[in-house]
Amino acid sequence: MTWPRAWLLALALLASACSHAELRLALADTALSASERQASLQLLQEALDALPPHFKQQLDQRISVRWRNLPAEVYGRAGRLRGIELNAALLPALSDGSSATEQTSRAHGSVRRELLATVLHELTHLYDRARLWPLAQKQLQHQCRQRQQSLGAVGLPEHCRGQTARRFTLSDDPLLLDLAGWPQYVGRRGAREQNNHQVARSPDSYELSNPREFVAVNMEYFLLDPSYACRRPLLARYLSEHFAWSPANPQPCADGLAYLNAGRDFARQPLGSIDAQRVYQVDYLLAEANDVLASRWGHSMLRLVICAPGRPLGPDCRLDLQEHLVLSYRAFVGDVQLSSWDGLTGAYPSRLFVLPLAQVVEEYTKVELRSLASVPLKLERSQLEQLVTRAVEQHWSYDGDYWFLSNNCAVETLKLLRSGSQHPRLQALDSIMPNGLLDSLVARNLADRSVLDDDAEALRLGYRFDSFRDRYQAMFGVLQTQLPIEQAQVEDWLNLPAAQREPWFAQADLRTSAALLLLEQAALRRQLLLAQDELKRRYLSGRDGADPTLNQAGGALQQILANSGFLSRPAELLESGYGLPQRAEWQRLEAESQARQRQLRQLSDNLDQEVRTLLEPARLAELQATESNLTQLGQHLRALHKAAGGLQLP
């Protein structure tokens, strides 16, 4: 008598355990054999075990799962009414156990892992469609919709951008879209770009089809791959925060973030590593505009103020200049001439370069004669470290299109700042010009431009790097007071033949020699630019084969262009893995980048040898005379210094 009663009680308990809000998977098993049923149930149980508790509590549904005949290329699909359908062609391998060892060419490995990933992928779609927002989110959306109705799109508060027409739990969240690679267009009230450009090192390019698939694919890896948090740190963090949960047993990550240094020193190992915790500040680095079309609006970059090894984070790191790196989005051309039409129509790929600061300072201030302003961003520590991580993620995955007007360096930099720092005051900032972006950052109290107030201090502490145009002018002033020269303008002095400047050196004292040295360098740079121009013109006009002397140097130049592409697209070096490279990939990366760099060095040595033979004899003679002047000045300076008993550095 008592036995059935106890049995009934047990049933009721099971039911009550289930009735408190939990996801249930119901296998349609009528046509299945015992082993098929068992294998299927085990698969579903594993899927449930892999899911975060929050996911299962929120998706409080009974979802049917059935095996069906589907097209051969489909693993599975899901619908609100039909539940989850798996491809029946894969059932035999699951039930006889062979699927656990049968490998696929895909990232998850075995057929069984792929089936497990499929169940998780389809469940994620259902979760995403079920609008399972947390309470605070729902309130925000409600409030924003009301504001939209009363104020219209123009008067909408910043934090409401992207919140007035939400339809999905995750895949239309503004932050998710930023991280996933569908950033806002600039100046279109938050409308999103249609194409995802984070194409390199994707685990499964299916994720690029749309944000819903992106979320579903990334959940597969978040739940099943212990290295996901190392490879896609910001997405892993986003998902962990959403579910208030992290997968058990994560893999330890590689120390530091690997990057390829695109510096022009072909003799050094280009593979480097950034430790976000060693970055003291991030500066907005702005190159002043000049008259060349491509630089008419200035150039936006970011500078990582990295502390020297052993130095604690602090203001002293600002002068560890040799450690600092610059992140620069640059347009690519596979040719020596930049076509403005192609730039305006987006024909150039835009990529994120990592360069040594010293090289950037030299290129802008000495070669292009433009000054640089370096303004620290006001970011919290966590925002700053996320920004650095995000930059390296982009360095490995991003391949955009460069449009001078609508997707230039300022727009790219803004997108990086927004998705990286996730700073609320950046969400609705729209600016497409580099100087305009700095103004907007300052206006929103996101950048501290007061560092530029005192000119001399800004120069001394590296908040400003002055154009050498000004310095050459100042040096010429020194020359005028110290030597009885006739020339009235610095240009007149630089236009003199080298042989006419040289006789003045002997009578110059130390101070005047220092001025002469800088001016002689200016003369050399001028000669180099003239020679380069001459070569470009000859190269472009002679490329169709009319001028055979150009072939050798032209060949070397083309090869350098072709071969140095890897520095901006590091993903080319690795065939396996996705996202940020991890320890196992490091060795291969090191060997591969070194081999490519050696090849580049060889090519550039060849070019060095050949290129001078192509110059007009008069140009070459003037170049050599200027170089000899520089050598002489160096000797003269050393002699003066020694005679005066100056300090000798060890």
Binding site: D399, G565, L640, H641
Partner: protein, 106 residues
Amino acid sequence: MRFVLLNSLVALALFSATAQAQTLEATSNIIVRALDRTIDFTSDTTTSIRDSKVVLAARDDAASFVASQGQIRGAQLEAAINAIRSQVPAAQNASDLVLAEAILAL
């Protein structure tokens, strides 16, 4: 929907179209560099201060400082002076001008 086959071929074709490319600035720099014999590259792992990157990078700043009698004082010079003072005991009491002249005379 989840597919067995990747769209990787399409993605691959997209990659290779843009792989053979280089920046505008870099292109010019390659030519200038090939022409220029005065650029010298320094080692990261040097023990002597006169060969160190931070000091060699400061030569133009040192020349500007000496010629302008201290009026033009760039960050690269500031960094080099700090490095020299912290590593060379004999330089600790030397003036900025003395150190700038020493860098200039390297």
